[in-house]
Each structure stands twice: as structure tokens, then as C-alpha cells.
């Protein structure tokens, strides 16, 4: 194992502008051009990703706020995180715990 390497961690991209709205959050990745909204558990995920998190860590945070089966939450999170990366709102990197 390479020294300093660790599990993949996800965090909000610095290159976003965003605001809370009545029902969620509206996000604009400034290098990608398109707004999108997060609602419900998406808002909680956005708050969780203020700090770098692995999928398991993010899932644990969400489970502390919402009911759900851990395996199902982890399974649901992975495609959501990849979508947020694709939109430019989240970045991912391998590294040790911050």
C-alpha cells in the first residue's frame, strides 16, 4: 500500500456557488454552467460533504439523521456521489483521514 494512500473520500468542490432555499439547496458548479437542486436527504448529504468523507462515513452521518438500512444507504450513495462528481459539485480523492 502506498504511504499516505487511503480510501476514496468525497467532499464538496471548492468551485461551486450555492444557497439554501426553502426546500433544499441550489448549486452552481461555476466551471460547468448548470444549476441543480438538492432536496430531502440530498441536502443532508450536501451538509455532510462539507468535510471529506468516505462512502461509509457519509452513510453513517446520514443514518444518524434518517432511518434506513445501512447496506441500502451505502448502495444508494455511490451513484449519487458519482452523479455529483459528474456535475462538478463534488470531488473525490484517495487520501488519509483529514
Amino acid at each position: 500500500m502506498t504511504p499516505g494512500a487511503g480510501p476514496r473520500r468525497y467532499v464538496r468542490s471548492e468551485r461551486v456557488l450555492w444557497r439554501r432555499t426553502v426546500d433544499g439547496v441550489v448549486v452552481l458548479p461555476i466551471d460547468h454552467g448548470d444549476y441543480f437542486d438538492l432536496t430531502g436527504t440530498g441536502v443532508a448529504l450536501w451538509e455532510v460533504l462539507a468535510m471529506p468523507r468516505t462512502v461509509d462515513e457519509a452513510a453513517a452521518e446520514l443514518l444518524s439523521r434518517f432511518d434506513g438500512a445501512p447496506e441500502a444507504v451505502v448502495a444508494d450513495l455511490a451513484p449519487v456521489l458519482e452523479d455529483l462528481i459528474r456535475r462538478g459539485a463534488v470531488t473525490a480523492g484517495d487520501g488519509p483521514e483529514p
Binding site: 468551485r15 461551486v16 456557488l17 444557497r19 432555499t21 426553502v22 426546500d23 441550489v26 452552481l28
Partner: protein
Amino acid sequence: MSWPWPELARAVAGHGLPQAGVALPVGAPDDPAWDQLCRWAVAQRLSGLLAAAVVDGALDVDDDRRAQVARMHRSAMVGAIALERAMLRAVDVLVPVGIDYRVLKGTAVAHLDYADPSLRSYGDVDLLVRSEDLDAAIAALEGVGHVRRFPEPRPGFQRRFGKGNCLVTPEKMEIDLHRSLAMGPFGLTIVLDDLWARRSTFVLAGVEVPALALEERFLHACIHAALGDPIPRLSPLRDVAQMLLAPGLDGEKVRELSATWRIDAVVARAVGLAGGAFELPSGAHPLLEWARRFEPAARDRRSLRVYTDPGQTYAAKSFAALRAIPGIASKVAYLRALLFPARSYVAGRHAGRLRRWGRGLAQVLRPRLRP
């Protein structure tokens, strides 16, 4: 239930303000009151505070009305972050050519002075640059497709005497480039170097963005609230109150700068209006008691009138500014630019130079002839 209008507007504008004596009425408003409230919140850029009042449960609304407020607020927030992106793009043009800047008004206040920037919406971007950089800043932004909204009377006029200039981005958003914080007489007495002596910062999209320091920012809010509109708007008054009640506002520093800039009358007016609008107790801050006792000098009363009289005009402010311009040579240059402006300035605005003079003279004399 019909709600009394001015009280309702002040209560929404004052929502969340500590020590405010205004409170939202209990119960659901009738349809006319609700419709008026929504139109007013959009026009006055107070949808953030209206949304907060709904989310906090301070306003009794059904699902339909909540959805309506949610739509209004989201629209305002999309506008705000679009403006922030435009601002960052402008900064990306200015910084590489050595132009220093400060973010002013809505963008800065939203991030620095409110608990959450979603409480404060705004309709344009305001950037301060040094006077000597104004022309270069405009040229740099014109080079990337920004368009100057108004020509200046003569080349160099804004850099020397004006507040600044407005540019429109390729996306049709407005960026106000300032060299001072006001036009007219009170804008010319501000010691511009004071605006650059200190700063606050906040982070936008990973970029550390400079703004005025708190006391200077508070003074700018006072200028905007007291002079920006003949009928003071509640959004700038809320900014004044918000910063007034924030821990850390140094009243002595405010007084020192206000006196140096010769804008005591402006600050007293703004603080008095904010205190009255939100029914703040005079003990909430020493500046409230100071403003209550303040008596403006006759000269300052005359200067205030050119901003606060209904029908206040550019010509009247411009003439009143003459007193504040130091030195005969500068006064002559100022008058020459206004009386004999470039053709591009007159074209499209007036039928000709003589017609323009007549109209300007009427605007200058009107307040003097008023009984």
C-alpha cells in the same frame, strides 16, 4: 384577516433582528394582504427574510403559499449566485492586470453580515476600484465583452469626480464599478484612501474575496440607506440595523470615519431611520442615541435634500457637488464637463445642448424656489 401594510413590511424586513420591536401579526393574512406582501418582497429584494419567516413558522401559511414563497426565494437565490459567478469572472479579468478591488454591498453583506447568505438577495454586483484604476478596469472588462451602460460627460470625468460606472456583462447582468460610495456632494468628501486601509474577506468558490472592513461597510450601508432613494427602502435599512447590532461594530471608529468623511448627517439619518423602522431601543447601540440627538448643519441639510427630495435629479446632485470639489481648477473642469459634455453623452438623451441646459437649470432651481 387584513394586515396593516407598513407594519407588516417592517415586520418581515425585521425578521430575526435581535431587539427589534416589530413583530409579525398572528394568523393568516387575507389574499390581498398576501399578494401585496409577495409583490413587495420581490421588488424590495426581501424574499430571503420572507422565506425565513415562513420556514421559522413566524408567518402562518398554507402549503400553496409556502410553495409560492419557495419559488420566489429560489428565483432570487439563483439570481444571486449567477451574479456571484459574473463577479468572479470580472475579478479574473481585473486581478491579472494589477487592479485591486473590494466587493461592496449585497454580495459582501450577504456573506459577512447575515447568518446565512440566503437571507439577502441582490440585483447587481458592486465592485470598488481605486480612482486611478477606474479607466483601466473599464477597458479590461470591455475587452471581454462588457458594455458601458452610460457614457461619461468627458473622458476621465468619473475617475475624477464621479461615483463610478455601470457595465453590462455578456449575460446581461450589471456590474457597478465604483471609485467612491456615493455620487454628489457626500461622495466627494469621502477620504477614498480610508476604503483601502483595511479589509474583511470571505470565500466564494474557493476564492478569497476582499470587502470593506466592518465599520467602512457599515458606513456604506448608511450611505445607501440614507441617500439611495427618496423614500428609504427597508432592505438597506435592515443592513444598517444588522451591522449596528452585530458584536464587534466599533462605534468610535464609525464616528471617527464619519466625521473625517463629513457624512455625520448621512449616518445619523440612516441610523435614525433604521432604529425607527425596526423599533430598536436606544440602548441597543450608542449610535442610536447619538443619531437621535444629532442636529445637521444647514449646509448638510441642503445637501441631504438633493438626495431625499421627491423628484431628486442628477442635475441637482451634480450642482450640489460643486461645493465639495476642492480648488478652482477642479471646479472649472467639473463645470466644463457638465456644461459642455461630449456629443456621445448628449446624443439620445436630449434634443440638444440648449435643451439640456434648460432642463438642468430647472432641476437645480426647483428645490431652491420651493416655499
